[in-house]
C-alpha cells in the first residue's frame, strides 16, 4: 500500500475532492466548493499535484491521507473512459480500512446506477446529487457540520451563484485557463471565502 507506515497529520478541515475534470462538471465542482467554503473547509484536488513523474501515486495518497474526509463523485461514466476516480475511491477504502481517521462519501448523479458499474461497493450507498448544484450542496450539508450549526442551503446557493459570476473574471486573468488548474481554482476558493465572510456565512 502506498505510504503505509508513514506518519502524517490529518487536517480535519481538509476535504479531498475526487471528481471529473471536464467542463460539463464545472458547475457541480463550484457548488461542492461553495458548500465546503461555507463550512470553512479547504477542498483539495489532485490537479494540485504535478502531472506524471515517479512518486505521483505516493503524493496523491499523501494528500488523501492528510484529509479527514474525501468525497468521490463517480457520476462520469461516459467517454472518454477514465479510471482515476474509482482508483482513488479504492485508495480511500484502503485508508479507511487502515485508519479510523478517514471517512469517505460517494456521490452519483442517478440512483441505482453505481452498483451496476461497481458491484464491489455493495453496502456503501452513494448520495445522489442529480447533476444539479442544489443537489451537490445538499449532500455536503448533510454529512459535514459546523459545531454552531450549518448555514441553510439557500444561503450556500447564493454563495455558489456569486462564485459562478466571479469564475469567468478569474479565468480571464489567467489566459482563460479552465477551472481545473491550481491557479484558477485556488483563486476561486479564496474569492468564495471572502464572499462568504462578506455574506456572514463563515
Amino acid at each position: 500500500m502506498p505510504g503505509k507506515g508513514r506518519r502524517r497529520s490529518v487536517d480535519p478541515a481538509q476535504v479531498f475532492l475526487n471528481v471529473p475534470y471536464n467542463r460539463s462538471y464545472e458547475r457541480t465542482l463550484v457548488a461542492l466548493t461553495a458548500a465546503l467554503v461555507a463550512l470553512r473547509r479547504v477542498p483539495r484536488l489532485t490537479f494540485q499535484i504535478p502531472e506524471g513523474g515517479q512518486g505521483r501515486l505516493r503524493r496523491i495518497f499523501d494528500l488523501l491521507k492528510s484529509c479527514r474526509v474525501s468525497i468521490h463523485d463517480l457520476s462520469a461514466v461516459g467517454q472518454p473512459v477514465r479510471f482515476n476516480m474509482p482508483f482513488e475511491l479504492g485508495l480511500a477504502c484502503a485508508l479507511k480500512e487502515q485508519s479510523e481517521a478517514h471517512d469517505f462519501l460517494v456521490l452519483e448523479k442517478k440512483p441505482h446506477r453505481l452498483h451496476r458499474h461497481l458491484s464491489d461497493i455493495g453496502g456503501i450507498d452513494p448520495k445522489i446529487h442529480h447533476g444539479t448544484a442544489k443537489g451537490a450542496i445538499n449532500v455536503v450539508l448533510e454529512v459535514l457540520e459546523r459545531p454552531e450549526g450549518n448555514p441553510s442551503a439557500a444561503q450556500v446557493i447564493r454563495l455558489y451563484r456569486r462564485m459562478m459570476r466571479l469564475l469567468p473574471v478569474i479565468k480571464s486573468k489567467h489566459g482563460n485557463a479552465d477551472l481545473f488548474s491550481p491557479r484558477v481554482y485556488g483563486e476561486l476558493v479564496a474569492s468564495g471565502w471572502i464572499a462568504a465572510r462578506e455574506m456572514g456565512l463563515n
Binding site: 459535514l144 459545531p147 483563486e187
Partner: protein
C-alpha cells in the same frame, strides 16, 4: 444441521454509519490563511482577489 446462510429470516446486521455513507463529520473548520497556503496564493494575488469580490477600497482625495 441447518444452513444459517440460507435461512429466510436471518437477521441482517445494521451497516456501520460510515460504511453506508451516512457519517456526520463535525469540525469548526479553518481560516483563509489555510487556503492561501494550500494554493500558494501570495498577498499580492489575495489583494487582487479581494478587490474582485468587494471592489477597490475608496481613496479619500482631499
Amino acid at each position: 444441521m441447518s444452513d444459517k446462510r440460507s435461512h429466510p429470516h436471518r437477521p441482517v446486521a445494521a451497516k456501520p454509519a460510515s460504511e453506508s455513507g451516512t457519517f456526520k463529520h463535525v469540525s469548526k473548520g479553518t481560516d483563509l490563511s489555510a487556503v492561501l497556503r494550500a494554493y500558494k496564493i501570495s498577498q499580492a494575488d489575495l489583494k487582487r482577489v479581494r478587490e474582485l469580490v468587494v471592489g477597490k477600497e475608496p481613496t479619500h482625495a482631499r
